[in-house]
């Protein structure tokens, strides 16, 4: 037998072949089980690389919170600050903090209308000093917390009953300014970091420069202010002084049919690309700095590039796009 084997250069022992075959089955099975139980598509990376058009954000991951009490119930808004991800879980009346990889760090907040408590935590944003601001739609106020969730007081008022804000929804912080939308007053209020009102934009109505339930706001590097005018189904752009510039709604010049149905979260990246969520059509849009549509990602479902009533959106410095997917109870992360 040995003699015969030596005569053949490519010989291989039969048992090794069986071993190799068995090994491959085990690998296949392991891969399948991993994919099945973690609900991750192990080939997505390759597919994305091959199939994603240039410039379209690619899917990265889903953040579900921590099992055993740390799950989301209705995540409405998200921001990144202090190298952490902050998510407002409206139904759980709390904010969840994650590291940038999506590992849960802690949560803060509880149900109530007393200082530091939440009834409808919505917009969330952080400043460069490590402070976190949370808008509460029902408690009529924006509260300030340190980066770990320690309550530091109301932001714009001494007491919520002062009604500086009535139904604060969206928040953004840029260059020492805090921008707050109010869906009942139908205005955007601009404050300094100490909560002093600096400027107010808009009024109730349907004309350019007027709002119908503005749900979110973002500010770009030039100081231009982007407001999701939810009820009027459009995004309005203002210069840094609050002068109306233009409408973005997916049509060529902003005057045609809107692609949005119930538009919500908005953010602008360093290149001036504008990201907007269209809640009732379960997708988000990307527009370039001229308002031209670059991408539309989503559709209804539970898959990776699918949403169920998405709401909040934030783009961080690394170009990562975070979207709260309310009814799928998760945060989707894309890379732009």
């Amino acid at each position: 037998m040995t003699e015969i084997a030596q005569k053949r250069p490519f010989s291989i022992k039969r048992k090794y072949v069986y071993w190799v075959i068995q090994l491959m089955f085990v690998i296949a099975l392991t891969g399948f089980l991993y994919s099945y139980f973690t609900n991750k598509n192990v080939f997505q990376g390759v597919q994305n690389f091959a199939a994603t058009p240039t410039g379209e954000p690619t899917f990265v991951k889903l953040i579900y919170g921590k099992f055993g009490g740390g799950e989301f119930e209705k995540p409405m808004a998200v921001t990144v600050a202090n190298e952490r991800i902050y998510v407002s879980d409206t139904n759980k009346k709390r904010i969840q903090i994650f590291d940038l990889e999506g590992n849960p760090i802690k949560t803060f907040g509880e149900w109530g209308s007393k200082p530091g408590q939440f009834q409808f935590p919505y917009g969330v944003a952080g400043d460069s000093n490590g402070n976190i601001f949370v808008a509460d739609l029902y408690n009529n106020s924006v509260s300030k917390f340190d980066k770990d969730g320690k309550y530091l007081g109301l932001f714009a008022e001494k007491q919520a009953s002062e009604k500086v804000l009535v139904a604060p929804a969206g928040l953004a912080v840029k260059e020492e300014r805090v921008y707050v939308t109010d869906v009942e007053l139908n205005v955007v209020k601009v404050f300094d970091l100490n909560g002093n009102l600096v400027k107010q934009i808009g009024s109730k109505g349907v004309k350019p420069g007027q709002f119908n339930a503005p749900n979110a706001v973002a500010v770009d590097g030039e100081g231009k202010i982007y407001v999701t005018d939810t009820g009027n189904q459009r995004v309005q752009v203002f210069d840094k002084n609050g002068k109306f510039l233009k409408i973005i709604n997916g049509s060529v010049d902003g005057n045609g049919q809107s692609v949005f149905v119930n538009p919500r979260g908005i953010s602008v990246d360093d290149n001036g690309n504008v990201f907007v969520v269209s809640n009732l059509t379960h997708r988000f849009y990307v527009f370039d700095k001229d308002g031209k549509q670059k991408a539309a990602i989503g559709g209804y479902g539970e898959g990776e590039k699918q949403f169920s009533l998405p709401n909040g959106l934030f783009v961080d410095e690394r170009g990562r796009v975070y979207i709260t997917d309310t009814m799928n109870q998760r945060v989707a992360v894309f890379q732009s």
């Binding site: 037998m1 053949r8 010989s11 072949v17 075959i21 491959m24 089955f25 690998i27 296949a28 399948f32 994919s35 099945y36 609900n39 598509n41 080939f43 997505q44 597919q47 149900w111 109530g112 009834q119 409808f120 029902y138 869906v183 009942e184 139908n186 109730k204 109505g205 349907v206 119908n212 339930a213 939810t230 009820g231 009027n232 189904q233 459009r234 409408i247 049509s251 005057n255 045609g256 049919q257 809107s258 692609v259 949005f260 149905v261 119930n262 538009p263 009732l280 059509t281 379960h282 997708r283 849009y285 539309a296 989503g298 559709g299 209804y300 479902g301 539970e302 898959g303 169920s308 009533l309």
Partner: protein, 510 residues
């Protein structure tokens, strides 16, 4: 053993055998590699594995069936694989027919729900014609989620999670904090769960139907304010007894006789007590030839039998002019020539109408009035009784109930000042809040500490102590004490020392 070795040696020595073996080994290896890659890719590719009727591969081939898209919340429902919105294939990002107007997609000044006008554009607020995700072409499968996508306060009005005359869906259920109770409209239970209803029925058209926002509200319009449903729990088109004679809770009037007014040419239905049945009638029908209407007119044929068929393809409702809203029909084409009123009979499916008073509290940015209900005029207890059938009692002196018997609080009676109720003529003047209704004591949506009052109409500081706060307007048994301090009070209820702390009633002693 020896012979086996011999055998193997023999086999290996077959001419050309080595090549065959080598080939088959390489072949087996190649197939294993292909299998490894193939299986992994095939199983992993779609990336989502939802339970239920679908498999990972039918994402693109799902067929629609009536059971899909029914369930609510985060259910795994219909997924048709199409990514959006009103158009199939090209131009999928465009929501057809919209203007740059309102999210609610309607023309400025028009309502989202109902009162549709000739140039309406309201449909696309909730429906997608060709690419819907849920049953009935809803954007989303799940009535509760679709409604609350806007009615959670984020559009600035009609927030069902904050207190109103309907109470709130947003209370804190923690027994120590708010002890909230709500009309659980998320779709997790069926209508049969209603106390006082038919707890055992599974009829998928009535008691067995999922309970959600659309069980009480009709988003396309109704005969009532608050878009209250015109046919709650199917009471209008359900006969009072089923085929086996058991009660159903239905309000349909079967085999009503007909009265004819020759002056106006109107035929009207008369119930068993001889009273004219007022409209509006429901105009739904069962498909078939001819259609069988819920409010069906029948006429005696040549053999003396009442039939709904005018011809093989037409029903009598098709050839007569039926005014469903007005509750009568006429015969402009003379198809009833030679027939008298006695030759005609009719099933009447009455529409449910609740009348109420509302005050304007604001205006939406696109100029639609925002109103709040201040009191009721008529019909509201009957509306509740569509499901809570047995609780709509008119006397506490004897047992009552359709599905179960018990002594129950009488609903229709006088009311304390400051409570919500129906109006009544007082000295010839329609005066609001005079007669008790279900909603005098209960909220329609839900309650918790934040919306409850005590017997002196003071906001409470502690949650209701009972297992459930039962959607009450008044905390604990203050809901009783609110009225029963002096009304027909033969028994002494409090002594002097407590009276000062617990007074209530029309003339409180302070």
């Amino acid at each position: 053993m020896k012979s086996m070795v011999k055998y193997f040696n023999k086999t290996r020595q077959i001419k050309g055998g080595n090549k065959v073996k080598k080939f088959s080994l390489v072949m087996a290896l190649a197939m294993a590699i292909m299998l490894t890659i193939g299986v992994s890719a095939a199983l992993a590719a779609p990336g989502d594995y939802q339970p239920g009727t679908q498999t990972t591969s039918d994402k693109y081939t799902t067929t629609l069936d009536s059971t899909m898209g029914n369930s609510d919340s985060t259910s795994y429902g219909l997924r048709n694989g199409l990514s959006n919105a009103n158009q199939t294939g090209t131009g999928e990002e465009v929501n057809d027919g919209s203007t740059a107007g309102d999210v609610i997609k309607n023309v400025t000044g028009q309502r989202t729900h109902g009162e549709y006008q000739n140039d309406t554009n309201s449909c696309a607020s909730c429906h997608q014609t060709h690419t819907a995700s849920g049953k009935n072409l809803l954007f989303k499968n799940g009535t509760y989620n679709t409604c609350t996508a806007c009615h959670d306060g984020t559009l600035g009005f009609y927030n069902v999670f904050q207190g109103s005359n309907a109470g709130t869906f947003g209370g804190n259920p923690d027994k120590a904090v708010g002890n909230a109770s709500v009309h659980m409209a998320t779709g997790v239970m069926t209508v049969a769960a209603a106390p006082g209803g038919n707890r055992t029925s599974t009829d998928s058209n009535t008691w067995g139907k999922e309970f959600n926002c659309a069980s009480c509200h009709s988003p396309h319009g109704s005969y009532s304010d608050r878009l209250l449903h015109y046919n709650p729990n199917g009471v209008g088109n359900t006969a009072p007894t089923d085929a086996t004679g058991n009660p159903t809770g239905g309000k349909k009037i079967v085999n009503a006789t007909i009265a004819y007014d020759s002056a106006t040419g109107k035929y009207t239905a008369v119930d068993a007590s001889g009273n004219t049945v007022a409209g509006p009638f429901l105009y739904g029908y069962t498909y078939g030839k001819p259609k069988l209407y819920w409010s069906q007119i029948r006429v005696k044929d040549a053999t003396g039998v009442f039939t709904h068929k005018y011809s093989a393809s037409e029903s009598w409702n098709d050839v007569l002019k039926v005014n469903y809203r007005g509750g009568y029909f006429t015969d402009p084409d003379g198809v009833l020539a030679g027939k008298t009123a006695a030759d005609i009979q009719m099933d009447v499916a009455p529409a449910t109408v609740v009348k109420m008073n509302a005050a304007q509290i604001g205006t939406t940015p696109n100029n639609v009035a925002i109103t709040s209900v201040t009191s009721y005029k008529s019909g509201v207890s009957g509306f509740c009784a569509a499901c809570h059938t047995d609780y709509n009692s008119t006397s506490a002196q004897s047992e009552s109930g359709t599905f179960s018997k018990a002594f129950r609080h009488k609903i229709v009676q006088g009311l304390k000042t400051g409570m919500i109720g129906e109006e009544k003529l007082v000295n010839g003047v329609a005066t609001p809040n005079q007669t008790m209704v279900c909603l005098s004591c209960h909220y329609a949506h839900g309650t918790d500490k934040s919306t409850m009052l005590d017997a002196r109409d003071t906001a409470v500081t502690a949650p209701d102590v009972n297992a459930s706060s039962a959607l009450k307007r008044y905390t604990n048994m203050a809901v009783c004490w609110k009225c029963h301090t002096d009304s027909k009070a033969e028994q002494l209820k409090n002594n002097d020392s407590l009276w000062n702390q617990k007074d209530a009633g029309t003339a409180p002693i302070n």
